[in-house]
């Protein structure tokens, strides 16, 4: 097999692989919707966090507005402290944190 044909086939193969990787990132993963850049931090206390995990989406009226940063336990008030990063576009006048969805809840 001559050199040019070989190069062409390998080029097609590498291009296919990169397209598949891009497809995974864009069509399958959440790279496109993950455009939250400037955030502000909100903390909330819960008696029970259920199955909440770090990186779970924070939703308001069903719209993703931020993500859970960390979950810690406060030994003074014996409650869970959930720290969330909320997109700066959604700075509310009177913020009502309605729902905290677990990562796999819809």
């Amino acid at each position: 097999m001559d050199r040019i044909k070989l190069d062409a086939w390998v080029g097609i193969f590498v291009a296919l692989g990169l397209i598949a990787l891009m497809g995974l990132a864009m069509k399958v993963g959440n790279l496109t919707s993950n455009d939250i850049k400037t955030t502000y931090v909100v903390t909330a206390n819960f008696e029970n966090i259920g199955g909440l995990k770090p990186r779970a989406p924070v939703k308001s009226a069903g719209v993703v507005v931020g993500r859970v940063d960390s979950i810690t336990f406060d030994t003074k008030i014996y409650e869970a402290i959930v720290t969330m990063s909320i997109d700066e576009r959604y700075v509310p006048k009177r913020y009502v944190c309605q729902y905290l969805y677990r990562r796999l809840t819809w």
Binding site: M1, R3, L6, D7, W9, V10, I12, F13, V14, L16, G17, L18, A20, L21, G23, L24, A25, K27, V28, G29, N30, L31, T32, S33, N34, K53, P54, R55, P57, R103, L104, W106
Partner: protein, 259 residues
């Protein structure tokens, strides 16, 4: 009785010295890598043999794996009334586990055996000795290009496997079974995280690529220069690569899933 323990000890010592020799080969390859990058057309030729010619088996098996995942997943999920989650199930199963692992197993069977047989036969016909006589290092000329070709090929093949598998799952779930198309893709996008799921799968396939290629190369290099020796080395390549992939998969997963 004594010979029994002697045999165990001898076998263990042989295994350990083979592991040491494989590690030495690995570092020799690394040290000769700059020479093989200067003549990259050798590596491109090997990418053609290990990557392009493996495409058919990868694409066909990925499509069927995806279709089976779609069918089995739907059958179980509809019992719990959540058949829309089929997209998440197929995507997460493929991206995190099945893509890298099955690709590595197929790679070991399709490309790893070819590498071992080729190098073993080169050794048996004394081509490697002839190269050394001409002051051409066999590691730089033969082994290093195959090593880098394996490392470049494996993540690309795993990405293609995952993507084609997801398309296979889509074909079964949406047109054949009738799951809502919007729910299929949107729930997949909401629950598959780029840095958490896709990048980790990519890292896995990279590690499997290194493991499979180095095992195949070492078995070929270490094969006794007889017909029987080459055939045994080829068998050992498949067995060792498969076990290494499955073992490494558990170790890597336990590192990655720290939650």
């Amino acid at each position: 009785m004594m010979t029994f323990f002697e045999n165990i000890g001898r076998g263990l010592r042989l295994k350990i010295s083979r592991l040491g020799a494989a590690t030495r080969l690995f570092f020799t390859i690394i040290s000769y890598s700059s020479e093989s990058f200067k003549r990259f057309n050798l590596t491109i030729r090997e990418i053609y043999f290990t990557g392009v010619l493996s495409l058919i088996i990868i694409v066909v098996s990925a499509f069927f794996v995806g279709m089976v995942l779609g069918l089995q997943g739907y059958y179980t999920l509809q019992k719990y009334g959540s058949s829309e989650a089929i997209g998440v199930l197929v995507a997460l199963a493929l991206v995190r586990e099945l893509g890298p692992v099955v690709t590595a197993l197929l790679f070991a069977g399709r490309a790893g055996t070819a590498i071992t047989a080729e190098i073993g036969l080169m050794k048996a016909t004394e081509q490697l000795s002839a190269m050394e006589m001409m002051a051409v290092s066999p590691v730089a000329r033969i082994v290093a290009p195959r090593f880098w070709a394996g490392i470049i090929t494996m993540p690309l093949l795993a990405s293609i496997f995952s993507m084609v598998g997801i398309i296979g799952g889509y074909v079964v779930a949406v047109p054949l079974i009738g799951v809502d198309e919007g729910a299929f893709w949107s729930q997949m996008q909401a629950n598959v995280d780029f840095s958490y799921d896709i990048v980790n799968g990519f890292i896995k396939s990279l590690v499997f690529g290194i493991a499979c290629t180095i095992i195949a190369l070492f078995e070929g290099f270490d094969a006794p220069p007889t017909a029987e020796g080459v055939s045994r080395a080829t068998t050992r390549t498949v067995v060792t690569s498969s076990l290494a992939v499955l073992g490494l998969d558990f170790v890597l997963t336990s590192f990655m899933l720290t939650v």
